[in-house]
């Protein structure tokens, strides 16, 4: 049918440049495709891109807003990255974040008369614990029954969502505001006292939320853990060569559960930050619409599961998410955010092969002399020249 076949031949050596221009080309390609989608749906792509930049950086207060969007995505991105790095597919950051919010809001309300630093710390700890316990369920099922953790962690997202709705909309729980006039019209959570509001650090005119500082700290810790500890080493072995890990006598069960614990704790911290930094209330509807957990997967994959690169990836996706919020309305409905995130990640995922293989186009049914030199198409792997080990499944087959 098709007069030529495309073949991928492994590159003999990986040049440094290919790891830079392939991701850049992927991002450019994504901008072009997304621009085409915008144009087809009746928007001028250049105007839209300009609006995104304005809403993210140049307007007064814009960068503060961008950081508001970045903070939860860094938490959920790190949660996904640390698990995915080990090929534990924790898709449950969404639910783990909800549980973190529930716990932190509960603790923040319960301890509200205590001094602020104690309340803030207690919210962080309780959020992390709640998230990690929720994540331990799919972790344990995977470790002991070999149950697919993708599906179990995902189904628990729905369960956590309904739990949040129950607490605020369908019960007289501790979290629900039953007294204020507004709450009689529409159910809502109790607002935290000032002691439960996390402080923000103001640098020039930019407010940096405490949660973001914590998240960046967690990035560093996770990076150090993966790179510099025995635990991290074993984790990498298990991610890259599971068979070698079991031959070496590593306790795989314990490792799976502990990785889920860490992953869930980070997502739960993100939930605590939602309550402490921004919402000051348990807000099921807002959290559900934000889809932080799922977007965290995009962040992690763009960062190629590297905790430091995740900071940059979270900022990039934060810019897009912020555009969705700031430009809301007919010009930039929320659906465009996910569409553009998807296009970006598709391009980056699809491009990874071009960093590792030459593309050769062969004419079918012609002798080998008919080779044409492989044009390497634009498209490429994600930001930062990090571990090649865990990229596509390409290595598995060969």
């Amino acid at each position: 049918m098709i007069p030529f076949t495309i073949r991928f031949e492994p590159r003999e050596r990986l040049s440094r440049w290919i790891n830079i221009w392939v991701p850049v080309a992927a991002i450019v390609l994504a901008l072009v495709i997304a621009g085409a989608v915008l144009a087809v749906s009746g928007h001028n792509p250049f105007t839209t891109y300009q609006q995104i930049i304005q809403a993210a950086f140049t307007q007064p207060g814009a960068f503060t807003q961008t950081l508001v969007s970045t903070t939860p995505l860094l938490f959920t991105g790190l949660a996904a990255a640390v698990a995915f790095r080990m090929r534990i597919w924790n898709i449950g950051a969404e639910g783990q974040l909800y549980l973190g919010s529930i716990a932190a809001a509960g603790v923040g309300l319960y301890l509200q008369s205590l001094p602020a630093p104690i309340v803030v710390l207690a919210m962080m700890v309780s959020g992390a614990i709640a998230g990690s316990l929720w994540a331990a369920i799919p972790g344990t099922l995977r470790a002991y029954f070999n149950t697919n953790e993708i599906l179990t962690s995902l189904f628990l997202n729905y369960v956590a969502d309904y739990l949040m709705y129950y607490l605020i909309f369908d019960s007289t729980s501790f979290w629900r505001d039953l007294t204020s006039p507004a709450a009689r019209v529409f159910p809502q959570g109790k607002t935290l006292a000032a002691s439960g509001n996390w402080p923000a650090l103001t640098i020039f005119t930019i407010a940096v939320p405490l949660g973001l500082i914590v998240a960046v700290g967690v990035s560093g810790l996770l990076w150090g853990m993966i790179r510099g500890t025995r635990y991290g080493f074993e984790m990498r072995v298990m991610g890259d060569a599971p068979r070698a890990a079991s031959h070496a006598g590593m306790n795989i069960r314990r490792k799976i559960i502990s990785i889920m614990f860490v992953s869930g704790a980070v997502a739960g911290l993100g939930g605590a930050s939602q309550v402490g930094d921004f919402r000051h209330v348990l807000d099921p509807r807002g959290l559900e619409q934000a889809q932080f957990g799922y977007t965290g997967i995009v962040v992690a994959a763009l960062a190629r599961y590297n905790p430091i690169s995740a900071i940059l990836a979270a900022l990039g996706i934060g810019v897009l998410t912020n555009a969705g919020l700031a430009l809301q309305g007919p010009n930039f409905p929320i659906g465009l955010t996910g569409t553009m995130e998807g296009i970006l990640l598709f391009c980056v995922l699809g491009s990874e092969i071009f960093a590792r293989y030459h593309v050769r186009v062969h004419r079918t049914r012609k002798p080998l002399a008919a080779h044409r030199a492989g044009q390497v198409r634009p498209a490429a792997p994600a930001a930062a020249p990090v571990e090649m080990a865990l990229t596509g499944g390409g290595e598995q087959a060969s």
Binding site: L141, F145, I150, Y165, Y166, G324, G338, G342, L345, G393
Partner: protein, 323 residues
């Protein structure tokens, strides 16, 4: 008074079939993709695209209702297939990680993605549906006791799904392409050596999977909800993926599983409609997901899995040895 209990029993079965049919369509689609070795986690996104595109068609197209509905379902199938083509290209040709690619598809097409965008662009959220499938009274047997409402008074889509299950069984176990498909999923190297075009089989069955997921999504907007609500499949795509696992990749067991979980999905609505609200709504909504987890654990315990496992090459890209 005894008639009421019988009626409740029948209505549970009827609603199990109604809510189970989208699961059955999407599950069959995923079954074909997985049998070819391609894990597509984008089912939820493909269903939502099928749902929104089918609804758009049914709202904007003029003509007799039966024609509009047929075209709408086909458009839904096409939308699902186009979505799956992205996943197929990335995971088959570009050998990207199938898990991440599928998840990306769900984000791209899903509740904050393209389907939501199309709903806004077409202003579909504010519209009541113009055309819906109605149940067919087959042979005039609708009022026959018990079997009448269950077997002879169903939506055309339900009959279509039964036809598909039968065709799938014949295809998988009684035809040469079906044998080849199973070989591609079990051992692509061996299938390739037999002269089977592995790449083509994987593309075709991933596309078929997307089309069937699109039909499943279309059933939401053309029959179950009869309007467009952002994210209206509410996890059905994910349940369909789980169903394939505990149906052990067999279409006949998939039908049983789909109706079982259709019953769980329908039960919440039915009890609310009957004013039984002593147990909170959220519990009924969460129940199908909790039950799915329980069923997954049961299906994944060692002894069962060894007997009837997944396609051996599921999730692994295939590249012929070069040189």
């Amino acid at each position: 008074m005894s008639g009421i209990n019988a009626n409740i029993g029948i209505s549970i079965v009827v609603s199990a079939i109604l809510y189970g049919t989208p699961l059955l369509f999407a599950g069959l689609g995923e079954l074909f993709a997985e049998r070819s070795g391609i894990l597509n986690l984008g089912v939820e996104g493909m269903m939502l695209m099928g749902a929104v595109c089918a609804f758009w068609t049914s709202q904007k197209m003029d003509g007799p209702s039966w024609l509009v509905l047929i075209v709408a379902v086909l458009v839904g199938a096409l939308a699902g297939a186009v979505m799956s083509l992205i996943h197929a290209f990335l995971s088959i040709t570009l050998r990207a990680n199938q898990i991440v690619s599928g998840l990306t598809l769900t984000i791209f097409a899903g509740i904050i993605g393209l389907s939501s965008y199309l709903g806004v662009v077409g202003n579909l959220g504010a519209q009541a549906g113009r055309h819906q499938f109605s149940d067919i009274n087959v042979f005039g047997l609708k009022d026959a006791p018990v079997v009448g409402p269950i077997l002879f008074h169903e939506s055309p889509l339900v009959y279509l799904s039964w036809l598909f299950v039968i065709l799938s069984l014949l295809y998988l176990y009684r035809t040469r392409p079906g044998l080849h498909l199973r070989a591609v999923g079990e051992s692509p190297q061996a299938a390739d050596a037999m002269g089977v075009n592995v790449i083509r089989y994987r593309y075709l069955h991933t596309l078929l999977g997307g089309a069937l997921a699109g039909v499943g999504g279309a059933m939401f907007t053309l029959q179950i909800a009869t309007n467009w609500i952002n994210g209206l499949t509410a996890g059905a795509g994910w349940i369909a993926i789980a169903l394939v696992i505990f149906a052990f990749w067999r279409p006949d067991l998939l039908l049983v599983g789909a109706y079982l979980f259709g019953a769980f999905l329908g039960l919440g609505y039915d009890l609310q409609a009957r004013g039984i609200t002593s147990i909170p709504t959220e519990f009924w909504s969460a129940l199908p997901f909790l039950m799915t987890i329980v069923a997954l654990v049961a299906a994944s315990t060692g002894s069962v899995r060894r007997r009837l496992g997944a396609p051996a090459a599921l999730g692994l890209p295939y590249a012929r040895e070069e040189g």
